[in-house]
């Protein structure tokens, strides 16, 4: 628990909640990132454009905070390429198959008391826990 950072976690979380509230208030949409990413790739014209702009905004927000000295102090290096590629494909495929990710199900779905989202969140948290357990403690991959 030595890396516990409750204050930045709560402030960052509140900003994420604010971002979702802004998108709902103005655009009438739920800010589920996996859905926005997929729509940005495969939808057309206006439906695609706002999604792409949202994603550009995300990159800008993270970059600005990083460049003013907040954000990551060090970037993880030397992590097995195999895990990154296979895991990434599972994240992309799984979030589309399950209609959502940490944001869509884990935050907005829970805020709307959606049964689907509660079930999905419990499942991806549990599988995430098992997956990290296997990677770190069974296969001894450092991270």
């Amino acid at each position: 628990m030595e890396n516990f950072s409750p204050v930045s976690a709560l402030i960052g979380g509140a900003l994420i909640g604010l971002a979702a509230s802004l998108l709902l208030l103005f655009n009438g949409r739920i800010a589920g990132i996996s859905g926005i990413l997929s729509g940005g790739l495969f939808l057309r014209k206006r439906e695609r454009l706002w999604r792409l702009l949202f994603l550009v905004g995300m990159v800008a927000g993270a970059s600005v905070y990083q460049h003013i000295g907040g954000g990551l102090s060090e970037v993880r290096t030397g992590y097995p390429l195999f895990l990154l590629i296979v895991g990434g494909v599972l994240v992309g495929f799984g979030t589309r198959l399950g209609s959502g990710c940490t944001s869509g199900h884990g935050v907005w779905g829970l805020a709307r008391h959606s049964r689907r989202s509660i079930v999905a969140t419990l499942i991806f948290m549990a599988f995430g826990g098992v997956s990290v357990y296997l990677v770190r403690h069974v296969f001894d991959v450092l991270s």
Partner: protein
């Protein structure tokens, strides 16, 4: 034009939140999922902080007949729990634990030029494309 201005604004605040909360650090994420190791509960508070805001704001916003910059609210309506939901969440969770990245941080990290995040984002896009190929050959 307004919805095309408010979308990047919301995205900007979202990216800021992911960075302030350190969710863009894959080590922070795997530390959270590693309940039997050096457990770091911070990310539970990220979700709690986000939920505290959305629980109140969503209720107030959805009392309006329509959003401010669009004709109507466009919200998910499904309530059924099917095999796809369960299998998808299980696959996603497995990949999340393997990489330390969910889609939001993978996108937001683009500006940080971390090799890990670039590989993961490329792989996520491949996974999304694979799903599109298998289940939705045409889209609207």
């Amino acid at each position: 034009m307004t919805p095309l201005l408010t979308a990047p604004l919301s995205g900007f605040v979202f990216g800021l939140g992911l960075t302030v909360s350190q969710m863009i650090d894959p080590v922070k994420v795997t530390d959270f999922l590693d309940v039997t190791g050096f457990w770091d509960p911070s990310l539970a508070l990220v979700m709690a902080g986000a939920l505290a805001v959305t629980l109140v704001c969503f209720r107030l916003i959805l009392r309006r007949p329509s959003p401010l910059a669009a004709e109507r609210f466009d919200l998910p309506t499904r309530t059924d729990i099917d095999v796809k939901l369960i299998a998808g969440a299980a696959l996603f969770g497995t990949g999340w634990g393997m990489t330390g990245y969910c889609p939001g941080p993978a996108v937001a990290s683009l500006g940080l030029w971390s090799f890990d995040s670039l590989v993961v984002l490329g792989s996520i896009l491949a996974g999304v494309g694979l799903h599109q190929l298998l289940f939705q050959s045409r889209s609207g």
